[in-house]
């Protein structure tokens, strides 16, 4: 199946992108890995007039640590994230998340920025990046701004990104105290996207008590969902099996999951508790 006809631009700098966005306005779409956009264009679900390919702009991909921040370029592929020694060492939960996206070929093309900007409610990275308290660098001709993950995801396929803005990098804070990260996913058996998933980031003090917990669910609404009841139940506690089980039971508090042909609401509520428990257990078990 062929996409409808469109014009193609391959700018070499962000300045050129800004100019093209000004020129074409809402007729243009940015192209990163193309693994959400091109399938949608082949099915004629979207028909942009112009594609602006970000793939030839230097400096938009790569992973580096800058003090207590991990900086990941928007064009970094899922394969690069999952294979990165830096990510594996500092944030194994993020490497695990990238390694279960779609399939090997999809991971070789799809990018972190594309996944975040697309904001598919069945996507993996938005869930983990929210648990990691990531923030997103949005750049435009007027300058830049930083938006925290908690504020960035607005609704199904809707984010804080304005049409004239480009997501250039993802910043992840690296807390001084040891933080354990994990991701647990129930994939749809046909599509591989999230049915329900959970990401956990647990900060522990010297005695093993949890001093900070972020537990986030995917697949249960239009955006990643902070399981605040679960987080509260973990805070200040030693992570015994009883504490974890009781905290996970509260994961479904306040969620209103969308049912589909594979999973109804009740099943998703149940899976929310199951996957929250698995994610917390996996994080707690990290050395």
């Amino acid at each position: 199946m062929h996409p409808a006809s469109f014009g193609y631009e391959a700018p070499a700098s962000l300045e050129e992108v800004f100019g093209l966005l000004r020129q074409h306005g809402e007729d243009a779409k940015l192209l990163a890995g193309g693994h959400s956009l091109l399938p949608a264009m082949k099915l004629r679900l979207t028909q942009p007039e112009v594609l602006i390919d970000l793939g030839r702009i230097p400096g938009l991909s790569g992973i580096r640590q800058d003090g207590d921040t991990l900086i990941i370029g928007a064009l970094t592929t899922h394969t690069e994230v999952s294979a990165s020694e830096t990510v594996r060492n500092l944030l194994p939960g993020l490497a695990d998340t990238a390694s279960v996206i779609g399939d090997l070929q999809v991971r070789n093309r799809g990018t972190m920025g594309g996944s975040v900007a697309h904001a598919d409610p069945g996507a993996d990275l938005p869930v983990t990046l929210t648990a990691l308290n990531a923030s997103f660098m949005l750049t435009s001709a007027e300058g830049g701004r930083t938006v925290a993950a908690d504020d960035f995801f607005v609704d199904f396929f809707t984010t804080a990104l304005e049409p004239h803005e480009i997501l250039t990098a993802i910043h992840i804070p690296l807390p001084a105290a040891p933080t354990r990260t994990s991701y647990a996913k129930l994939p749809h058996p046909a599509s591989g996207y999230v049915v329900v998933s959970a990401a956990a980031a647990l900060t522990l003090d010297g005695s093993g008590a949890c001093t900070g917990a972020r537990v986030v669910l995917g697949g249960v609404g239009g955006t990643p969902h902070r399981a605040t009841g679960t987080e509260t139940a973990l805070n200040g506690q030693a992570l015994t099996p009883e504490v974890i089980a009781a905290a996970a039971e509260r994961a479904a508090d306040g969620i209103d999951p969308h049912a589909d042909s594979y999973a109804d609401e009740e099943y998703k509520r149940h899976m929310a508790a199951v996957y929250a428990r698995r994610a917390i257990e996996a994080a707690a078990a990290r050395a």
């Binding site: 062929h2 469109f6 193609y8 193309g34 082949k42 099915l43 793939g55 090997l104 070929q105 093309r109």
Partner: protein
């Protein structure tokens, strides 16, 4: 509306090609129709089957989900470029040896994914092989002999 053609300079299986194409032309159609390399197959419209897998700058990708213009400047290997003259690539030989195919429709994609896997992870065990094949669908074999063939290829001295 007419959109201007764009340049595509690529090296496919060691031969360079310089041409211009419509921006909407998918890499798989460029390979099959413009270059006549019909070993790369199209098995779906939804980026799921992997029959179209080729190596783009060394990475296994679904060529139905890449624009030909995005490949400008790239090195591409297709199933036609895998063998060394009359000597089959170890993965191809192992598919023959272990009966890793029935109708053969999925096979070019399976072989290209497997060759990439063994390039990047020569020590791949069964679990890694199965994880790597998640993006390749086969309607005939039930996968058992495909995994066996890749395991056999992985054990070849190289």
């Amino acid at each position: 509306m007419e959109h201007p053609a764009r340049p595509v300079n690529v090296t496919v299986n060691g031969t360079s090609h310089a041409t211009e194409v419509e921006p909407r032309l998918l890499l798989v159609h460029f390979l099959r129709e413009n270059l006549g390399l019909t070993g790369t197959h199209v098995g779906c419209d939804t980026s799921q089957c992997g029959a179209c897998t080729v190596h783009l700058n060394g990475a296994a990708v679904k060529s139905c989900t890449v624009l030909a213009v995005q490949a400008d400047g790239a090195e591409i290997t297709t199933i036609e470029g895998l063998a060394d003259g009359a000597t089959l690539h170890p993965v191809q030989a192992a598919f023959q040896e272990e009966h890793g195919l029935q109708c053969g429709f999925c096979t070019p994609g399976m072989v290209m994914t497997a060759a990439y896997l063994l390039e990047t992870r020569p020590d791949a065990d069964d679990e890694a092989i199965k994880h790597a094949l998640e993006g390749n669908l086969c309607r005939c074999t039930g996968y058992v002999n495909i995994v066996k063939a890749i395991r056999t290829a992985a054990q070849q001295p190289r």
